[in-house]
């Protein structure tokens, strides 16, 4: 059986989650790899969530927020972007492929884009192969 | 030279009977329902569009209106009551006048009084010439039995004063020939004009020369069978049309080419070929006339809802020609020489204008244009350049 990645996706309630809903109502088919977790704003997304997802075995982590300038809370998405850049750097230092995390802007109207993003990210992760982070962490000594 | 749209063209078409021209918003239902249109030649829609835009050049070079036999299904289907079938009819009238280089056709179509005047004039001319060259024998009333042959019928060729039977037929034949030459001259030149507009003037059109010959059979075939017409859903009309066409043609041929054999003194038994053909023609023409009269008056059939004066003119003339023809036959068989003579005179007074006016300049000419349109269409098809039509498809 082909490797089916598990990607934990954090979606802001207003744009991205609604965009994902739109992909649903529009019956757009995409890879079943995503496990969506709703937060009110991408500004709520804390590095801990991303690290935790990897610890629990996620093959990738997707973070989605409103497009720059369109944040429901004015600029939570910028705060997310700033953190994300730092997290990217940290992840790289920790020997994790930076392609395993991705930040994308999805508006409420971009159902199609969301479906495409899901497929694209899934393909990226498939190319990287399954994450060994969980196994490595469980291996003490 | 790029064509310009012409907003005034619609006024011109109005004269040819155009009623509705702008209701169409090009849904394409008409073309979809039409049993005759083909994938790469989409009528009636394209014709409607060209008419709406006033693209005369494209219209005149298109044979589409002739390919339509007006079954009326498009009109019935049209969601906007744009009456595409009738528009095709109007375009046929328009094209007829375009093909006619003399301008007479245009005059007749657009100004009814001229047509009427021409008919009356020709009728008078016929009556006068007949009375001058073939005056009635004074014995017609005093000694009617002198004109009766052994079968008891009127000797039709002996009714003129002092003119032998053979001379009578010959004079009539001269008249026939004169008429035939005149009519054929106009008609053939018009067809050539049509050929020029449809085929020759299209510089981009290229097809192998042999196509002229290989496609020629279609002209004959369509002329004889009206096969395309049979594809329309209402078969009765096709049969009626086929009857009148064959009847008319037979009669025409008999009169023009075989007058000597046809118009003889002797009355043949009813089963004689000559009489049978006559009966067939009469039946065909009458069937069509009755069908058409009823249709045009009751307006139940879509295609007969709107009658242009030229439509009436044709069937009225045909009607009187037919009725007088029948009367001649009855009077002859009944042995009434005077009635025969004068009915014959009236018959000619209807027949001649009908042929002279209708054949090259008006409604009748479709008998020639239609098969030629099919022929030209096949020639165009034989060419590769179908660009403008292919490009039309995305909009549908």
């Amino acid at each position: 059986m082909e490797f089916e990645p598990k990607i934990v996706a954090f979606l802001c309630n207003w744009c991205s989650y609604t965009g994902a809903d739109l992909a649903g109502t529009s019956r757009m088919k995409y890879s079943p790899s995503l496990r969506i977790i709703r937060v009110m704003c991408s500004g709520r997304i804390c590095p801990t969530f991303i690290f935790k997802a990897f610890q629990e075995g996620a093959d990738g982590v997707l973070v989605c927020g409103c497009h720059p300038g369109d944040c429901h809370y004015n600029e939570g998405n910028y705060k997310c972007l700033r953190r994300f850049k730092l997290i990217e750097k940290y992840i790289r230092q920790m020997g994790i492929e930076p392609d395993r995390i991705r930040l994308a802007w999805i508006s409420a109207s971009e159902g199609k884009l969301f479906a495409e993003l899901a497929n694209e990210m899934t393909q990226t992760i498939k190319n990287l192969g399954p994450s060994t982070i969980k196994a490595q962490l469980e291996q003490m000594v | 030279m790029i064509s310009r749209v012409d907003p005034e063209f619609k006024q011109e078409l109005h004269k040819y009977g155009l009623r509705e021209w702008n209701e169409c918003f090009h849904c394409g239902n008409c073309t979809a329902i039409c049993p005759l249109t083909k994938d790469d030649n989409l009528f009636p829609r394209r014709g409607i569009r060209l008419a709406q835009m006033g693209l005369k050049k494209q219209l005149v070079s298109s044979v589409d209106p002739w390919l339509c036999y007006y079954c009326g299904e498009c009109t019935e289907t049209c969601p906007r009551n744009a009456n595409p079938g009738e528009l095709m009819m109007v375009l046929r009238r328009y094209l007829t006048s375009c093909y006619d280089w003399t301008g007479i056709s245009r005059l007749f179509y657009t100004r009814k009084i001229w047509e009427l005047a021409a008919i009356i004039l020709i009728a008078l001319g016929v009556i006068i010439s007949f009375l001058v060259f073939l005056p009635p024998s004074p014995d017609l009333f005093s000694k009617p039995q002198a004109f009766i042959n052994e079968q008891g019928g009127v000797m039709i060729n002996s009714l003129a004063n002092g003119i032998s039977a053979s001379r009578f037929v010959q004079l009539i034949e001269y008249g026939d020939l004169l008429m035939a030459i005149l009519v054929a001259g106009f008609l053939i030149s018009n067809i050539f004009h049509m050929f020029y507009r449809v085929i020759l003037s299209d510089r981009n059109l290229k097809f192998p020369f042999y196509s002229y010959f290989t496609e020629f059979w279609s002209l004959i075939y369509n002329f004889v069978t009206q096969a395309r017409f049979s594809k329309c859903d209402n078969r009765t009309y096709w049969i009626g049309h086929l009857l009148v066409m064959t009847g008319y043609t037979i009669m025409f041929t008999l009169i023009v080419a075989f007058l000597k054999e046809f118009q003889i003194e002797e009355i043949k038994p009813w089963y004689h070929w000559q009489r049978l053909l006559g009966y067939y023609s009469t039946f065909g023409i009458l069937f069509f006339l009755i069908y058409t009269f009823i249709g045009r008056i009751r307006k139940t059939d879509l295609k007969m809802q709107f009658s242009h004066p030229s439509d009436w003119m044709f069937i009225v003339l045909l009607f009187f020609t037919a009725v007088t023809g029948i009367l001649i036959h009855i009077f002859r068989v009944s042995g009434l020489p005077a009635a025969t003579y004068f009915t014959y005179l009236i018959h000619l007074a209807f027949l001649v204008p009908m042929i002279v006016i209708e054949v090259p300049f008006s409604k009748w000419s479709h008998l020639a244009y239609r098969p030629f349109a099919v022929y030209f269409d096949r020639l165009r098809r034989a060419g590769q350049n179908r660009q403008s039509i292919v490009e039309l498809t995305p909009a549908i």
Binding site: K6, N13, G57, C71, H72, G76 | V5, P7, K10
Partner: protein, 575 residues
């Protein structure tokens, strides 16, 4: 601590979910999870019997946490929360797993979809354990209303509200009231004079004792929350501070400037004008060329800027009807003139407009369709000996012919775009904009005048281009919403807010600037930060920015989210 007793309900949504997800298996798997007392599947959980089933279970089995796996929480979260309340349980002890929009509708592989549904349910079950009861809070509603924009939508809303005796502040950025409608000569489809409708409303609003009109003014700052807003309005050099309970945004739109579309030669060749300029001309009662002659050929080009991916990708919605109206007006004033409608798609919607289209066609107007995806019509100067001065070259799509259209006057039906100030105002108000810069409604179908910010309503063309009647309907709808809230006198405010644990807060003050609403204040005496929970909108950014963990984001706590992550990752797919 009380024992956690979780009830899990898997909805079939008829066949919507059940078709692609083995709901029975999901329920069975959920039943095995820690703390789950009951796990059921049911045909329609949102139906009354579905809710009753849940209510009964809560009461009979002493459930204290509920998970429903069904559609998007954006659709039915409130429904189920109400059911929990009915059963006497705090509505926030509830979590939804979205197995329709995120699973059954987007995945075909039933096995994988079921697996994913199980994961999402597991996530929700793990999360709900940590969820806490939150208490609803309500605040008094200030009965005054702020209306932004003095066009037909704003005027109508202001008038509706003021007529009930409530105070309205009407802020208009221009020097007079009337907005776009004031520029319109006659309305479609009946060609009535727009001023006949508009002037009495302006009159009433201007003189109404309960309406304070601020011309040349703009809202520059807003604080507070639904029911209790405080806004700063700039007018010329002075500033006013206003207090109000609700806001109706009616800022409208502006016409697109066709200069970038060089093929239309706007401002380059004479007698090429926009639809707005033509309205002005009509208002003066004549149709004239620069030379003061009357045009014999008038071409109306549609979709100028609209439905053009490079400019306004959307349909501006009113131009087709306006163009048809123009054709009729031209025919009325100049019966002999030839009118050409050069359109891309005829979209004459709305009551009476299809009839107007038919009528216009009957009046001899020529309709020519151009190819919006290909080369757009191109306007050039005609040769010297031509009858007209302009020639439009175009490919006519319905005939497939390349044609030329002669014209003396060309009217460009310019698209309508969002106001330039829409971004600035959206930030002041805290509402979102769509990709075309128009404001986004709370729900496109079911809540079209509200926004996601409570107490802020959008009406008229600031939401998308609209005709007058639609703007008026929306204005009245929003007025009804506002009046209902004023009459109720109080309003429930967001309970999902942040809060500071003072015993942890170290007073570093990182959070103060992080808050987009200024809801966090540093208390100098206590040396801790404090969240004003009525201003807080619950984005949770501060909770993530707080380095000590003193700030918590209610209903989206770290524990809850981490538990959910753990849950969705609990069962690894077999490789």
């Amino acid at each position: 601590m009380e024992e956690i007793r979780i009830g899990v309900y898997i909805c079939w949504c008829g066949t919507n979910i059940a078709k692609n997800v083995d709901v029975e298996r999901v329920a069975a798997e959920a039943g095995k999870l820690q703390g789950v007392v009951v796990a059921r599947d049911y045909k329609y959980m949102c139906s009354d019997p579905g809710q009753d089933l849940m209510v009964k279970d809560i009461q009979e089995m002493n459930l204290n946490r509920i998970v429903v796996a069904a559609c998007s929480p954006r659709i039915h979260e409130i429904t189920f929360r109400k059911a929990l309340e009915k059963a006497g349980l705090n509505p926030y002890l509830f979590q939804m797993a979205n197995i329709r929009e995120q699973v059954s509708w987007v995945h075909d592989d039933r096995e994988k979809a079921t697996q994913k549904a199980i994961d999402l349910v597991t996530g929700a079950v793990k999360r709900v354990r940590w969820q806490e009861a939150l208490n609803k809070r309500s605040v008094k509603v200030n009965p005054a209303t702020l209306v932004i924009g003095g066009g037909i939508a704003g005027l109508t809303a202001a008038r509706e509200i003021a007529r009930t005796g409530r105070i309205v502040f009407l802020v208009e950025k221009e020097k007079s009231l009337g907005g776009m409608m004031k520029k319109i000569n006659r309305t479609f489809p009946n060609l009535d004079e727009a001023s006949k409708y508009l002037n009495p409303i302006i009159e009433e609003v201007s003189s109404h004792p309960h309406i304070q009109v601020y011309l040349n003014s703009q809202l520059v700052k807003l604080s507070g929350y639904v029911g209790n807003f405080i806004g700063t309005v700039n007018h010329k050099e002075t500033q006013s501070e206003l207090e109000f309970g609700n806001i109706i945004v009616a800022t409208g739109l502006k016409p697109f400037k066709p200069t970038p579309l060089s093929n239309y030669a706007y401002k380059r060749l004479p007698n090429i004008i926009t639809s707005v300029e033509f309205e002005e001309m009509l208002s003066k009662g004549y149709i004239r060329l620069d030379s003061r002659q009357e045009p014999k050929h008038v071409a109306i080009i549609h979709c100028v800027g609209s439905r053009n991916p490079d400019f306004l990708p959307y349909c501006s919605r009113t131009c087709c009807q306006t163009a048809l109206k123009f054709a009729n007006q031209i025919k009325d004033l100049l019966p002999k003139a030839h009118v050409y409608q050069i359109y891309a798609d005829m979209r004459s919607m709305s009551k009476g407009c299809e009839e107007m289209y038919s009528k216009t066609a009957k009046r001899g107007v020529m309709f020519l369709m151009y190819d919006q995806k290909g080369k757009l019509p191109y306007i050039r100067e005609a040769g010297k000996n031509e009858k007209t001065r302009l020639v439009i070259e175009m490919k006519e799509l319905l005939s497939g012919e390349q044609v030329e259209v002669t014209a003396d006057l060309v009217i460009l039906m310019v698209g309508m775009e969002a106001q330039e100030t829409s971004k600035q105002l959206s930030q002041v108000l805290g509402i979102s904009r769509c990709s075309n810069n128009f404001y986004i409604e709370k729900h496109p179908k079911l809540d079209p005048v509200a926004t996601t910010t409570d107490g802020v309503f959008i009406v008229g063309s600031c939401q998308a281009p609209k005709e007058i009647s639609d703007s008026a309907s929306q204005a009245k709808a929003a007025a009804a919403r506002v009046l209902a809230m004023i009459n109720k006198d109080w309003v429930e405010v967001e309970v999902i807010t942040s809060s500071v644990r003072e015993e942890i807060c170290c007073g570093c003050q990182i959070c103060v600037h992080v808050c987009p609403y200024g809801a966090i204040e540093f208390l100098k005496e206590k040396k801790v930060s404090c969240v004003n929970e009525v201003i807080c909108k619950g984005c949770g950014t501060c909770a993530s920015a707080c380095p000590t963990g003193a700030i918590g984001s209610r209903h989206f706590t770290e524990k809850q989210i981490l538990a959910q992550i753990e849950g969705v990752m609990l069962q690894l797919l077999e490789v």
